[in-house]
Each structure stands twice: as C-alpha cells, then as structure tokens.
C-alpha cells in the first residue's frame, strides 16, 4: 500500500534540513557534515578571518590533506614549496578553527571521500558537503551529499548552513545481473555513455532497481562518485542492511542505544512506494561488457571490444566537432578497436576505485603475473587505513612482486597536482574519474576503466579484456 503522502529519499532528507525559506529565495539548508581539504579551503578561511567570524560548529567539520600531497617515500621532505605552503596552511586553519585535522602523519588520513565513510562520519539521512565535486560519493549511504565552491565552504564554516535551490530528482533504475568481469565502474561508465556529461544537470540521481540492493557499499560508492560526471551534483541510494552493516562499529558511528535509534530512523529513509520522480531512466546491465572511455570526457565511453566511433557518422554538428577534437587529442583513428592498443602507464587508485575491494580486484589479476616491462603501474590506496588493510592481506607483496609501485594514500595521478603525472603524449589506463585533456598531466591521454581492466592491461602492456587473460 502506498504511504498517504509518498516521498522520495531525496525529499525526506531535503525537507528535514530546511531551516527556513523566504518566498523567491533559496532555502537555508542545515549541513550535518562538512569535509575540508587543502586545495579549496584556504580562501574560505581567509574570508572568515577578514570578517572576524569564527568557525561556528567546529565539531561538524573534519579536515585532511589529499590533493597536493606526495605519495612517495614519507621520509622524503616535500619538494614543492607551493604544495608545502598549502598543506601548512590547512593545518594552521584547522587549528585556528578548532577543527579535527587528519594531517600528513595521521593514521586516519586519506582521500576525503574514502575516509568520511571509513571513519563512520558519513551516515544515512545526513547532508554532507565538501569543496570537491566527488562529494557525491557519500550519497551511497542515503545521504544528500554534494560538492560546493570555496565561497560556500566559507558559508558553511560561518553558519553551518548553505543557501540552496531545490534540484529535481532523476531516478536511475539499474536492473539485471552483471556478467563476469563487469564491475560497478563499468555500470557507471555505461550510464555516462548513455546520458552524456550534461544529462543530469539540475538533478540529483536516485539509483533504484534490483541491481543496486545486491551491490556492496564500496561498489555503491563507485557509482555515486561518478554521478557528477553526468552533471548530477548528487547521487543517492536507499540505505539498507548492507549500509548499516558497513557503518556499525566505526570510529564515529553511533553506539549502544544511539545506534538502535539511528537504525530505526534510517529505515524510514527509502523512497516510499508511489513517490514521483521528475525524470526516470532504466539501465539493464545483464548484457553489459567491461567499459572503457576513448575520448576526453567521461561520457565518451564504449564496450571494451567496440571500435572508436567515426565523427562522420554523427549527425549533431556540436557532437561531431567534439568527437573530432577528442580523437585528435587522443590521437585515435575512427573505426579502430581500443583492445590491443599499447599504454605507458596504469593508475589504480582515486576516490572512485581506491578502496580495499578495488585493490583486491586488481591483486586477483596481478597475483603470479608480472607487469609488462613497457608499463609503469602505480597502485595508490585511497587512505592509510586501506593501505594497512591491503598490507595485512599481503596485497602489497602481490603488487610489488608483479613490478608495481606501492605508494602512500592520496589523490595522486587522478588530478596530477602532486608530481604523479603523465608526460605529454603518454597513454594511461586509469581507474579514476576524469579523462579531460591534461587531467593526469599536461598532454597526457587517459582511458578510464575498472580495476580489473587496468590490472589486465598492466600485465599485457596494452588495453586488455580481463576475461581473455
């Protein structure tokens, strides 16, 4: 039976956080969790200082360093003076604001979207923001989580609220059972290939359908993470027993009677039967192949065995010139298959695919095998906790004996701010989230794919379908 006034998950979280709203103005939205990193926050703290405003709720903001930190030998001092200054400033700002800071030497540090869930900070029904577009990751827990700019970081620090227009909600129904070798990354790349990089603009995705419930939390995070690549600021999934099991017992998770009360509250969050979405689409993943991108945005993806599309066959002039420009940058010929194409670098890591399950997938391919001599393979854990777990399982030995570099946690070659980068013209298979021109280093060329495809390609030195290895 339908609830008397059926609501979506988004609507429930949104409504319960609106403090007030003047007619014609955006809502004042209360923020539960604010995550901060070194790159998008210095100007926000400077703004607060200039106005003489303190951090209003220091207990609800957590800071770390992830974007510009080196991932090499921790004993080697930072060689980049700008990065060093930015990291120092983060530490100083956290101290000034009374904010909990997971710094360079913290055992809890890592990519902000890996540590939020890992520490139990991210919980269902919360509003979560961060000056980083991949904040959409946290929506996997049934939170409303989205990226904000630096001005908004300042607003949250000052008031613990944000001015927000209510977005629409687009249901993304995922049905079917994926075949062998097909991962969460392939599912989201297939979605992006279908809707393009602007398809979700103005909307929040809510992922529904039978396939979502059978995904692990880490798989759910991979999909929600890349919602922003479809233009949706947030992606959400209904919390269920899988969610609660993941959260239980973590450092900042509720305990005892608080836990029971929290779970009872979280169970009411899923979208009610009969609730209406503004848009809806269905993705059947039963016949899905491993996916890979060929172009210069995450929507330019195809099945691993498919040929690179030809601009002449595209009717829309805008799309045709975009495709032509992308193929020129990537130096690819239309009609060519990507399979078998040599690559120089393989990067396994990032807030998309840098969690323990991703490293296990990669290790399952690399165990007993060697990285091709022509390839540099970087394995960068998403957090120091992921690194410790991988080492406890012996995955580091699998990577090292295969010939990979086993590095410290950080964003690393996903954003190439810290010295981990491609050289001009190099090709990489990367488990990260963006293949924009120069994203992994000026002139570098990126193929986005799953940890399985990345590991298989590292072994052969060319783009490889793991199912044929």
């Amino acid at each position: 039976m339908n609830a008397p006034n059926p609501k979506t998950l988004f609507e429930k979280v949104w409504t319960s956080h609106v403090v007030t709203q003047e007619p014609g103005s955006p809502a004042v939205l209360s923020i539960d969790l604010h995550l901060v990193h070194e790159v998008t926050s210095p100007q926000a703290f400077a703004g607060l200082r200039a106005r003489g405003i303190p951090v209003r709720k220091p207990g609800r903001t957590f800071a770390t360093v992830d974007h510009s930190i080196p991932t090499g030998d921790p004993a080697v001092p930072l060689s980049d003076p700008l990065a060093s200054r930015q990291i120092g400033q983060m530490e100083e700002n956290a101290r000034w604001g009374g904010i909990r800071f997971f710094g360079m030497n913290s055992a809890q540090r890592g990519i902000v979207h890996v540590i939020g869930p890992e520490l139990g900070l991210t919980q269902p029904g919360m509003t979560v923001v961060c000056g980083d577009s991949h904040t959409s990751t946290h929506g996997a827990f049934g939170a409303l989580a989205f990226g904000i700019g630096t001005s908004e970081v300042e607003h949250v620090l000052a008031t613990q609220c944000l001015l927000q227009r209510r977005p629409g909600v687009c249901e993304v129904r995922i049905e079917g059972t994926p075949g062998p070798g097909v991962t969460a990354k392939d599912i989201v790349l297939a979605l992006l290939a279908r809707i393009g990089v602007g398809g979700g603009t103005g909307h929040v995705f809510e992922y529904t359908g039978s396939a979502v419930g059978s995904l692990t939390m880490e798989e759910r995070m991979t999909i929600c993470n890349m919602s922003i690549e479809g233009g949706a600021r947030a992606g959400m999934m209904a919390p269920d027993d899988t969610t609660f099991e993941y959260i239980a017992g973590r450092e900042f998770s509720p305990r005892g009677a608080d836990w029971d009360r929290a779970v009872a509250r979280w169970r009411k969050l899923p979208t009610d039967d009969g609730a209406v979405f503004d848009m809806s689409l269905t993705l059947d993943i039963s016949d899905l192949s491993p996916m890979i991108t060929f172009g210069t945005n995450p929507g330019m993806g195809l099945a691993l065995g498919a040929p690179v599309p030809a601009p002449d066959e595209v009717t829309d002039p805008g799309q045709r010139s975009a495709l032509r420009k992308a193929l020129e940058y990537m130096n690819l010929t239309p009609g060519q298959p990507l399979l078998g194409r040599p690559v120089n670098v393989v990067f396994i890591g990032s807030c998309t695919n840098g969690r323990i399950s991703d490293l296990r997938l990669a290790a399952s391919v690399l165990r007993g095998r060697k990285v091709a001599p022509t390839v540099r393979l970087l394995v960068v854990p998403g957090s120091q906790a992921v690194k410790r777990q991988a080492e406890a399982e012996g995955l580091d030995r699998v990577f090292k004996s295969a010939g990979a570099e086993w590095r410290e946690a950080g964003c690393s070659m996903c954003i190439a701010m810290n010295g981990d980068q491609l050289s001009p013209g190099e090709y990489a298979v990367s488990t990260s989230n963006r293949n924009f021109e120069g994203r992994q280093g000026k002139g570098g060329r990126t193929f986005l794919a799953s940890p399985l495809t990345a590991a298989a390609s590292a072994v052969t030195g060319k783009i490889t379908d793991v199912r044929t290895l």
Binding site: S30, Q43, Q86, I148, S151, E152, H155, G198, G231, N297
Partner: protein
Amino acid sequence: MPGFTRFTSRVVPLLVDNVDTDQIIPARFLKVTDKLGLGENLFSDWRYNADGSARRDFVLNMPEHRGAQILLAGDNFGCGSSREHAPWALTGFGFRTVISTSFADIFANNALKNSLLPLALSGADHRDVVALLKSDPAAELTVDLSSQTLLVPGGRSMSFPIDGFAKTCLLDGVDELGYLLRFMREIEAFEKFTSRG
C-alpha cells in the same frame, strides 16, 4: 561585491561543447592560497605552447579580441570539478559574462558569487549569435541583466532566464553570506529543535 551593471563589449568565441574546469584552469595552478592572478593561467593548456609562448591560433590570444568581456562558449560550460578557481580565472582575465546554452550546476553557483554572469540562451538564439559573430567578429553585444536581455546589433534583443534571487544578488552586489547571517536566530532554533546543536 560590486553591483553588476549593464555593459557593451566585443565577444571571444570559444565554440567548444562541454568545456570542463580542468581546461578553464588546470589543477596544477590550484596550489595558490589566494584568488588573485589566476587570469594569467586561464585556459593555459590551450593558450600557451610548451615553451610558454602564446599560441597565435587560440582565440584569447588574437589581438581583435583583446579587452572583450564576453566569452561565447558551446553547450554545457563548466562541467567537472567544484573549483571556484574557474570563475576567479575568468574574472581575473576580464570576463564578466559567459554565454552558453547551459551551465554545469556547481560552476554556475560559483560564477554568481563572483559577479560573473552565466548567460544561457536558447539553442536557436545561440546559433544566431554564433552566425552573427562569424559574419562580423567585431560585433558588440550589450548585456542587460535588469531586463534579462542580450542586445545584438540590428536592434534584436534575446531574453535569458535567471533565478530571481541570484539576479538581485548580482544587481545589488549582495553578499550571500551577509544574507545567510541574518537567519542566525532561525538556524539556532532549528538546531535546538532537531537536536543538531
């Protein structure tokens, strides 16, 4: 923040769809701790050769576009990251308006907080402006936010949508944090009521 006034300017056409924030300002320039000076690195990878010299074939470097305050882009401008460095770089270079048919959400939010108008035209109007600039690259357009119109030579005016609150904030130079701080009493009451204190 200064109020956004009506202005007339020549236009830089950058007719590429899905211009992402990594192109607007590559990540290696995000290690700054202030907002100034980013204009020099705007579209850096498209604008400069490997040796640092300006690429003559890139629109921003063409002498006829010097001083233009309007950037005319393709569809879905500003997709990608949340970096507010993107509007800081655009305004640092001297742009006051970007014209497209649509904007990525976070970019548009960030632009509005920095007196940069994301001006979305209908597909048909956008095509007409593109055609006009092809025939007359020196054409000047007038951006009039109060009437929400873009005036093109020959007397035609094209309307564009903008959120009412955002429009007021731009026109009056309203500081959004100042507006938000007016609700402190409601915010405190809300937190008490929902035990979010």
